[in-house]
Point group: C2
């Protein structure tokens, strides 16, 4: 891929830029065919990295997962790891974004007319950078997020591999409607054994008697989740990665979410019932450490804005 393609002018598409069909385009032109199996079969994988203060955070980890997800689904893109990095940097650069939400997407594509064989489809690649997305507004975070624990069961690993980041979210979206009906702010769902699973775009943690708990199964292995677990190691906070029964979860000392859409988000209430610690001491330490490591060189991949 020649240099001029992956080095669009800074701010060419101020505020947000996509990469579709091999070219940088404004977000309004970021479209996929109605016939792409990525839509008609949700046969796609994606990943979302972020930039913070002009640098990608743990981009390598996101790219590792994206390539692993594609391999598991037998999808491929015509770009090397280094070219992928260039495209993602290009989207942020063209959008002239400091704090950005940066997605990379691979879809199955469209098999030849009349064929229903996914092996015959040319896979498609898309990317885009938007202003950083928060899964809850700053205002709502200050007020305190009220999390609904839905009875809905997350799509099981026997059906869809949850370690492949995927768009099978109807269960999560329907749980959000339930939450709104009940006057809550967001929701998480459970697994088939009555353990807390995950929410729309986040993993779920609790703190009990000084130990941090999160589930080990049936969920996306989020990069923010991984970062939180690693930070506990640094901070000498014990971590248990094991099934997390809803009844235990409801008696947590502290609860927080992890997401590339906001990092570490303390939870104030579970279904209207105040969580004793909000924002609790353990959550606060992990939260602060999460943002502190954004300044560490090993985790940063600065965007070249050409200034």
């Amino acid at each position: 891929m020649p240099d001029q393609d992956t080095r669009p002018p800074v701010g060419q598409f101020e505020g947000g830029c996509a990469f579709a069909d091999g070219a940088f385009v404004p977000l309004s032109e970021a479209k996929i065919s109605l016939f792409d199996w990525g839509f008609t079969r949700s046969d796609a994988t994606y990943d979302v990295a972020t930039t913070w203060k002009g640098a990608f955070f743990r981009l390598d980890v996101h790219m590792d997962r994206f390539f692993a997800s594609m391999e598991k689904l037998r999808l491929a893109i015509p770009y090397s790891r280094s070219e992928l990095r260039d495209i993602l940097h290009g989207c942020v650069r063209a959008g002239d974004l400091q704090d950005a939400y940066v997605a990379m997407v691979c879809t199955r594509g469209v098999p030849p007319r009349g064929a229903r064989d996914p092996r015959m489809a040319q896979n498609r690649f898309y990317a885009y950078a938007l202003p950083y997305v928060w899964i809850a507004s700053r205002e709502k975070q200050r007020e305190g997020i009220d999390l609904h624990i839905s009875d809905r069961v997350r799509i099981a690993p026997e059906s869809v591999d949850p370690t492949v980041k995927n768009y099978h979210w109807m269960d999560l979206v329907q749980s959000m409607f339930e939450a709104y009906d009940l006057g809550r702010d967001t929701s998480c769902v459970v697994d088939g054994q009555g353990n807390v699973a995950e929410g729309p775009g986040f993993n779920v943690f609790m703190v009990k008697d000084g130990v941090v708990h999160t589930t080990d199964r049936g969920v996306l292995e989020g990069v923010s989740r991984r970062t939180a677990i690693e930070l506990c190691g640094r901070l000498d906070i014990p971590v248990s990665v094991a099934p997390l029964p809803v009844e235990r979860f409801r008696r947590a000392d502290e609860v927080f979410l992890s997401s590339s859409g906001g990092g570490i988000l303390p939870i104030a209430k579970l279904d209207g019932v105040p969580v004793p610690g909000f924002p609790g001491p353990v959550t606060t330490r992990i939260h602060d450490a999460y943002w502190a490591i954004h300044d560490e060189a090993a985790y940063r991949d600065p965007v070249d804005y050409g200034v």
Copy 2:
């Protein structure tokens, strides 16, 4: 919706026509935003009707299900039932298609920038007509379809309501790859209790000792499935709608699939093992009756080609 909008010229988009953003367009222009939750959350429902010899088959039943699916997902379109019918007829007319695959799709749309609340999104509607699609080629049908029974579990009703026709198909697509690896032609998946569920775009039936069997749970209630069951009534063939264990299924006298993509399709082999009856007498009677009722006025809604 004014007349000129829903009555495009016959053959305006010869061979296939879509309806997107309120206008009839060629298939190549049928695109959705990369940011539509219909893609990024698979938060959408759809239905597929067919025309045969210039008339829709059981269009009312498809429209009933489409409106019911939207209601269950809290989606809505700005068209009445009669307007929807006009749009679907318009797609077939503009494509000048006699035998057509006709899809209607409703997606969540895109919430305002920064919001993650699906209630704030304007739902989107799309439709299109293509030449009739067969889930297996005519040649393959004559040779005999070899069906792989995958161990993969269909997404459970506790996660996604299977009576809402949806695009959560990753389990089904992955089972197709398994089938190809094994040299089979297509695949079906099971439920969590070891019963045969459904395949990519079809319901599954067996005949044993003169009785037709199909499962009662965890699957799309297909219109072709319903037609097959109703035809058994007409033909005095006993039907059992109940869980169908894989071990019983493997000992079937006859096996067939039902789909709007081909009607009643006899199966020749299960994982390479010949099914004793191919195409068996019961399947053949249902197959012939299925196509015969396409000529009955009560099931036909003729397209006006203006000739």
